[in-house]
């Protein structure tokens, strides 16, 4: 049974249909990428999973239907969603943002996990009392990732993490994600416009075009796929 399963999911914003029947699966321990141009429905797919947009069709997480779930309900099932624009609470401090990641958790290990994030991202310690809105874009993205990880999610969803970031920072970001996937079996669903990066880190990928899955397959194969290469890899 896949960890996440979407079957013929449609989504609309008022009268505008954004997804015309998307089906996809994510297995436990996988890194799956969703590629596509602007407006293809990548972000809407993640929003549909998180219950942030009205949908029809079937969405199941760990065997449970998510059709009527609220964003907080989905989060409580173990889905960490780092949204477009990172979702940093800009007026709170860096440390308060990180603590919010552990909001749903109780018990002594929370403290240890917070410390562990500081090991991954040492700059957090020096900036812990700084207002999060004053961080650079790269730091905000790292903080958003750290905050999502503190929740110990079963599924991590990243929406365009590379957007507006310098290449070196993007590399660093995906290094952390890859490491957590390999070492701790973290399941990841990542939405990216940058197909090169996305196909590099993922094992499988879906290409969305105007709200539909146009191409899907192992990332290695998509790299050599004629249409994908021409439209998304640019060579």
């Amino acid at each position: 049974m896949p960890l996440l399963e979407l079957e013929d999911v449609q989504a609309r914003y008022g009268p505008i249909v954004a997804l015309h029947g998307v089906s996809l699966t994510v297995d436990e321990g996988e890194v799956v990428a969703i590629l596509g141009a602007n407006g293809a429905g990548k972000t809407t797919t993640l929003r549909a999973i998180s219950g942030m947009v009205a949908t029809s069709g079937r969405i199941a997480f760990a065997g449970r239907p998510l059709a009527r779930a609220s964003p907080e309900g989905v989060a409580r099932l173990g889905v960490a969603h780092v949204p477009e624009g990172r979702g940093i609470l800009t007026e709170l401090t860096v440390w308060e943002n990180l603590r919010m990641g552990a909001y749903m958790r109780r018990g002594g290990e929370v403290k240890r996990d917070l410390e562990q994030m500081v090991d991954h991202f040492p700059w957090i310690e020096e900036r812990r009392n700084q207002q999060a809105g004053t961080l650079s874009g790269g730091e905000q993205q790292m903080l958003a990732l750290a905050r999502a990880l503190v929740a110990r999610p079963k599924l991590l969803m990243l929406d365009e993490p590379s957007l507006g970031l310098a290449p070196l920072i993007v590399q660093e970001l995906f290094r952390v994600v890859t490491r957590l996937n390999e070492e701790e079996g973290l399941t990841v669903l990542v939405v990216e416009q940058n197909a090169n990066i996305a196909l590099g880190v993922s094992s499988r990928a879906y290409v969305l075009e105007v709200g539909r899955v146009a191409v899907e397959g192992p990332s290695e194969e998509l790299r050599t796929h004629e249409g994908v290469r021409r439209s998304y890899l640019g060579y």
């Binding site: 609470l89 800009t90 909001y103 004053t134």
Partner: protein, 300 residues
């Protein structure tokens, strides 16, 4: 006698009295700020909710044999439930309505609480015995009213508890997060609508504290919080409607300011309220963010 020929002792007494009234304004102002920050609602019914809960405290002491402090804490519990209930039952259904609609709803609440209080307890004024004796307290040769010191202490303690709650607890942090970024907070698992209801609950508690502290000074009546509400609005705007610290400082400044103007500048009591209004208008004109209005730094 020249207005300036006053004694230090009298000045000290006036300042302490001003701080006590200021504490009352500050509590209600903080309630307004709390609700504004969490739900962006300006709650015109805040004062009437406070008055209504103070009447409940009075009933408990008068008809059910409660001591003041027992009634005080029971009333705080009732006020909390009342605040939560008002948000869930009355405000929530208007969730996405315009500001104007919500303002009209809170004005309707004002009328409902006021009418209910008059109906249940009659419009007349009654004595409400506070917990502090009128006996003066000797501080370095200056006689300070125990009542004033008590009111200052109770309001400062409530404000401090609230501050610590928001600063140090997970729930307090989640309430702040829900106010700043509801969508982001929901993705982190925060039940945002409940955070709003809690905000209303805490605000109603602060209002109840303010009502129970002012009732022994001004007499208990359905109209007793109306002037206090104006001062609280002025205090909240003076401090910056977004700033809890500002609301407290604004309340204390206004309390001391109007008391001293009354005592030394020949401002009669009926002029004190218009002065609060003038302060409100001047602040809105010249410094709309208030004294403590923060400029939020953002990088994108």
């Amino acid at each position: 006698m020249l207005p300036l020929a006053f004694s230090v002792s009298e000045l000290a007494q006036q300042v302490v009295f001003g701080l006590a009234m200021g504490g009352v304004y500050a509590s209600l102002a903080l309630a307004l700020v709390l609700i504004y920050r969490t739900t962006r609602v300006v709650n015109f019914a805040q004062g009437e909710m406070a008055m209504f809960t103070t009447f409940i405290a009075w009933t408990l002491t008068e008809n059910h044999g409660f001591g003041f402090w027992a009634a005080f804490f029971v009333t705080i519990g009732i006020a909390f439930l009342l605040g939560v209930g008002v948000e869930r039952i009355v405000i929530r259904p208007f969730g996405h309505a315009s500001h104007l609609t919500i303002i009209l709803v809170t004005i309707a609440l004002f009328v409902v609480f006021n009418g209910a209080a008059q109906w249940i307890w009659s419009p007349e004024s009654r004595a409400f015995l506070g917990p502090f004796s009128a006996q003066p307290f000797d501080v370095g040769g200056i006689a300070i009213a125990r009542q004033d010191l008590g009111v200052i202490a109770v309001t400062l303690i409530s404000v401090t508890i609230l501050w610590a709650f928001f600063r140090f607890t997970k729930l307090g942090l989640a309430m702040r997060a829900a106010a700043i970024g509801p969508d982001q907070s929901r993705l982190l698992g925060v039940r945002v609508p409940w955070m709003y209801a809690l905000g209303w609950g805490f605000a109603a508690v602060l209002g109840a504290v303010s009502g129970m502290m002012v009732a022994p000074i001004v007499f208990l009546s359905p109209a007793m919080m109306q002037a206090v509400l104006i001062y609280a609005f002025a205090a909240a705007v003076l401090g910056g409607i977004e700033s809890p610290v500002g609301a407290v400082v604004g309340g204390l400044l206004l309390g001391v300011g109007t008391t001293l103007l009354g005592a030394y500048a020949g401002v009669t009591p009926e002029l004190e309220l218009p002065i609060a209004f003038v302060v409100l208008v001047l602040v809105l004109l010249f410094r709309p963010a208030g004294l403590f209005g923060r400029v939020i730094v953002r990088r994108v």
